[in-house]
Each structure stands twice: as C-alpha cells, then as structure tokens.
Assembly symmetry: C2
Homo-oligomer: 217 residues x 2
C-alpha cells in the first residue's frame, strides 16, 4: 500500500513518519517539488520516504491523507488532481481553523464541514473523516493518553471506513475504540469538537488528552 | 436555598424534581400562572414544589436555572425580569437547537453562544453554563452511565461556579468530575458539543451516555 500525505506541517510529517515505520511507501506532498521541509523529512525517514508535489504524491498513492489545514484543503486536493483521487480512499484529518481574527475560529462550521466539501468537490473519492479530534502525536501513539479513549470516523463508503479502521488499528487504536458516526455529514460534529479540544488544551497545558465515550450497553 | 427552574419541559421538570428531593423549595416557572403542566408537577411533587410565572419563580429564588430551549432563553429571562436576576447565580443548561429546517441546527453557533447572550443581556447575573452536554436524566443521576465521566462548566464568577459545583455534587457529580473551562466564552465550545452528542444518540439509540476526558497528568 502506498500512501500520499499532503502537508508538510507537524501533522503531515508525524503521520508520514509513522506510515514509513509501518512499512509503507510514503510520499509527503507539498506545493513545490523542492520543498526543503519535505526533502529533509524524506532524507531522514529512509528509503520508503519520498517528497514531491501534491500531484506526485497523490498520483502514485493508493490512499491519500489530507493533512494540510482545513482552510486550504480544497486547494491542495485540486493541486493533487481529481484524476489522482478518483476511487481512492481520502482520509481527511483536517480542521477548518481560521486564525485571521486573532482567535481560532471554525470556517465552515455547523452548516457545512471540510469533510463534506472535499466529498462534494471530488465525488469519486472515498472520503473518510478521521483523527481530527486528537493531537498528531496521539494519532500515531494512543498510549500517550492513559486508559481507554476513542476516535470518531465518518464517511459514505463502508469499505473505505473499514480500510481506515484497519489503519487506525496499526496506529494502535483497536477497532472497538473507533466510533463510526455514519455518513460524511457527521464531519460537522467531528470538526465542531475543536473548540472544546482547544479549551482543554489551554486548561491542561499539553495535548496528551482525548475523549472517551461512556455508555450504558 | 430557593430555586427557580424556568421551563416546564422534561429538562425543567427533571431538574426541579431532583431539587425538591434534595430538600429545596422550588418554583417551576412558565409563561402563564396556570400552566397545567407546571401545576400538575407542583401538585405531585409535594409541599416544597410550586408553580408560577417566570417572574414569580425568579423573584422568590436564590438561584435561577434556565431550562427553556436556547432559542427562547432570552425571552424567558426577560419575562422573569432583570431585577429578579441581578446578583443571582443563573445556571444555563440550554442548547441553542433550532428545528425549523427539519434537522436540528445550532443558532447561535461558534461566534456566540446562549450562555454569553444571557450574560450580556443580564450583566449583573452570575451566569454559569453547566449540564447542557448530558441528557436530563443523566444530569440528576450520573450513575445511569457506567464509569467515570465528566461535566463542563464555565462562567465569569468563580464563587458562582463553586456554588454550582456544590450543587452538581448533590446531584451525584463529584467535584473531580467537573471540568472548569474558564470564562463564559467557553459556552461556545460546550454548546458545539451538541451535534456530536446527537450523533451518538442516534448511534446508541438511547441517551445514557456521556464523555470522559482522559489525559496524561
């Protein structure tokens, strides 16, 4: 399985690094072919790690991970090329955070979501929203947070979700810690968790936390 | 301590009933003096239970609980009378759910919250947002959900929050299960949890669930 990880920020590099550790071929995609962060990452991460444009990354991949910010996700995926997304699992881990007004706010929010926008813009992609509710280090190492805690996933395609749940299992998330919220419309709910997440980050002073859902059986 | 509970829906009646059980004098407030639901509740709930208008309820109370829907909270509190709220703890348990378009949506959302609107409209009230992230039966009986799970509170007034945390303790929520998110601005984050809550309600088919926050110490 070959992965494209779009975005050279901490989230993208962390996910790409873990995928390489798991034995996958990974191309870290960015706007330009010679992005120094991507080239440095690929050099350090070994033979299965590559750097390239968004289109290079997506074109050669079986699965595409959107790890750019939610505000620029559509631009990045357009640069990757719809023809490189068709039929593929696209994992959207982004949050639509906009920092322009000084405090983080969500845009879109409530009446739409980045996950849905991606699915609408690329109707043949099999979009799964996942991982956006935890810090990237927790994404690939759930043991940083003690006890049981959960991830949410949603998306229209059951097979795509199964594939993502398997990958999450390789990251260390057993399937019973993954809650399927249904169709991609639930990306709204997942993205709207961010303000609470940011409040807890401020309260605790670190990002090693996550939500558990307790329930009567 | 005398409580006013504004709103005769399931949330209001459940909270009012529990407060009566705890030994408090409680007036269930509604638009009209002779609201049959309120009168029936008061008759059944015993000598400490009363029914009255929003103004009757708030005027005689030490603490006012807003248990009407978020869409009508300001109207109800205006009817209660600003002079009956000044200096008092006002516990806002509401969510700004609007069902007009067929699916539940939040209004306001993200750039404002019901909690903040109440605080702005009644600057001398000591508004504490609490309890809006669980079903009303769980509010007053956290044991319906197995294991540890949490409530969030926020508000500008530390003494008001302490008083609310004490009341939550009487409901069965130990203080270490209450997470203080800071000022009333965090009501946004608390209200924005609702879409995820509704998604889980749909998934589980019942409302006996809640969130736990796991974290590294």
């Amino acid at each position: 399985m070959r992965y494209a990880v779009l975005g050279t920020g901490e989230v993208g590099r962390t996910l790409a690094g873990r995928l390489v550790e798991l034995g996958y071929e990974v191309t870290l995609g960015s706007r330009s072919k010679d992005n120094p962060v991507a080239v440095e990452w690929a050099t350090a991460a070994g033979g299965r790690a590559h750097a390239g444009t968004f289109a290079d990354a997506a074109g050669g991949a079986d699965v595409v991970v959107n790890a750019v910010g939610g505000q620029v996700a559509l631009d990045a995926l357009r640069a990757a090329g719809a023809e490189h997304l068709d039929g593929k699992v696209v994992i959207d881990v982004s949050n639509p955070l906009d920092f322009e007004e000084g405090r983080p706010r969500l845009d879109p929010v409530e009446s739409d979501s980045v996950g849905e926008r991606i699915q609408r813009a690329f109707p043949l992609a099999r979009v799964v929203k996942a991982l956006n509710t935890v810090n990237c280090r927790v994404m690939v190492d759930p043991g940083r947070v003690p006890g049981d805690h959960v991830l949410f996933v949603c998306g229209a395609d059951p097979d795509a979700k199964r594939q993502v749940v398997e990958l999450l299992g390789e990251f260390g998330w057993p399937a019973d810690r993954v809650l399927d919220l249904g169709g991609i419309g639930s990306a709204r709910a997942m993205e709207m968790l961010l303000p609470l997440w940011l409040g807890l980050l401020q309260k605790f002073g670190h990002a090693d936390f996550n939500f558990e859902v307790r329930r009567r059986d």
